[in-house]
Symmetry: C2
Subunit: 262 residues, 2 copies
């Protein structure tokens, strides 16, 4: 099954655009505590409320191979118990051609994840090993959520800012297998609207920046939804997983989002 | 000690600009063979001929946590037996601010490496956790060695291609701690010359693309050397580590390079 089909099924089943970000920071869960066991509890509490889970590789790599084992165990747990929920690995990789095969092996063969985030800077030719994964989602950084995102992303090439050129290239040239998505931060609703205009109605965006980073739900939804009231994967990490009641926070976010989808 | 000082000492001691790339592809060394043991043999054979070792994370991640253990063991082995040789982790990371702390932990605390490669797309504000590492080398992708590098890197902003803008920003704004280096591929000697002109004589470049990728030694050295006949870390991976006699290949590369340094 294509990644987008799997994602749309999950969105429909749980009536949700919420992606829970398992940014399981060892400093926050307590040193020596197991990242996988923490994740399992979050997954048990939220799996009927989400369209996907996103695991940011940095929080697992931080402690070396033991973290990578927890990442793997979390993916295995999801595949066994909730195979219908897509797993996104937010690893922001990208190297030259042959080297990317190593990342493809790690993310899609070893972890058996469904999607991966990547940097665009090296161009399509370099990242073809990712784009060749027909049934996987390849999520390209377009407009990132950080305050200083504009340093290069806003530079204008013949009047068009770089992030829009990335959106155009991905839509017109990279997406021949229908497996590309874009990262566009909730902290930039104006830019989100521009990107939706460029890419049309089919493409999905992974949207970080809600919650702790200050992104607003209403303006994100108004700017980014497609004409089927989907097209967005709205990620929340810290705001859910470190809340006193993660289930309640996920539920709240889901219904806050859904009021703009009806 | 600053990374650049450590690097210059290693260059002087071994009279070499050669960096051996430990791209220890499990498919090439044979499944089940241990990446660390392979690396140890290469290090034993070449440690008096190099200015640094570079480990590309993709080749270790490809097999999951066991590969990360081999990566760690290789770094530990180098730190114990050859503490004077800088270790570069070619991981091409970059996320938003707080998340990068995880990569800092992994690369500099866990692996105890000396330098890391990163993507520039998110801007200085995001990658500050890397730039704050005073004694580490932060190596920013500027002009990559792949054939399709120009898709974004050559786009002109008011007449200046993006890779040159990256070089300018890094030199003038990012390098306040004197710990920045740039990646410029040997496959683009003209661009290498341009970047040397922009950044001046102090900054070092990590130069991939010699050998299998087709980069020419003479034109690379002519274009990239600084006025002290250093300023370049010339990487060769496959061409050395999978040769019948890795020591002879490293020696050959070292002397081929040094004929342009005298």
């Amino acid at each position: 099954m294509k990644f987008i089909e799997k994602l749309e099924k999950a969105i429909k089943k749980n009536d949700s655009l919420v992606c829970v970000g398992l940014d399981t920071d060892v400093k926050k869960i307590g040193k020596g505590k197991n990242q996988f066991l923490f994740n399992k509890e979050i997954i048990k509490a939220t799996n009927d409320l989400v369209c996907s889970y996103k695991l940011n590789a940095a929080f697992y790599e931080s402690i070396g191979h033991k973290g990578i084992e927890s990442l793997k165990k979390t993916c295995d747990y999801l595949k066994t118990n909730h195979p219908e929920i897509p797993i996104i690995i937010d690893a922001k990789r990208a190297d030259i051609g042959n080297t990317n095969e190593g990342y493809v092996q790690f993310i899609f063969t070893h972890l058996k994840a469904d999607a991966l985030t990547i940097h665009p800077y090296l161009g399509q030719e370099a990242i073809r090993p990712f784009l060749n994964q027909l049934d996987k989602g390849i999520i390209i950084l377009c407009r990132t959520s950080n305050p200083g995102a504009g340093e290069f992303q806003d530079l204008e090439v013949k009047g068009t800012p770089l992030y829009k050129i990335v959106a155009k290239q991905v839509t017109r040239k990279w997406n021949t297998n229908g497996n590309c998505l874009l990262v566009v931060g909730a902290t930039y609703p104006k830019e989100l609207r521009e990107v939706r205009r460029i890419v049309g109605q089919e493409m999905f965006f992974l949207v970080p920046g809600i919650g702790a980073q200050g992104g607003d739900i209403k303006s994100t939804l108004k700017a980014g939804l497609n004409n089927r009231k989907t097209g967005l994967i709205i990620n929340s990490s810290r705001g859910i997983i470190f809340a006193d009641n993660p289930r309640e926070e996920a539920k709240k976010l889901k219904s806050e989002i859904n009021q703009y989808r009806n």
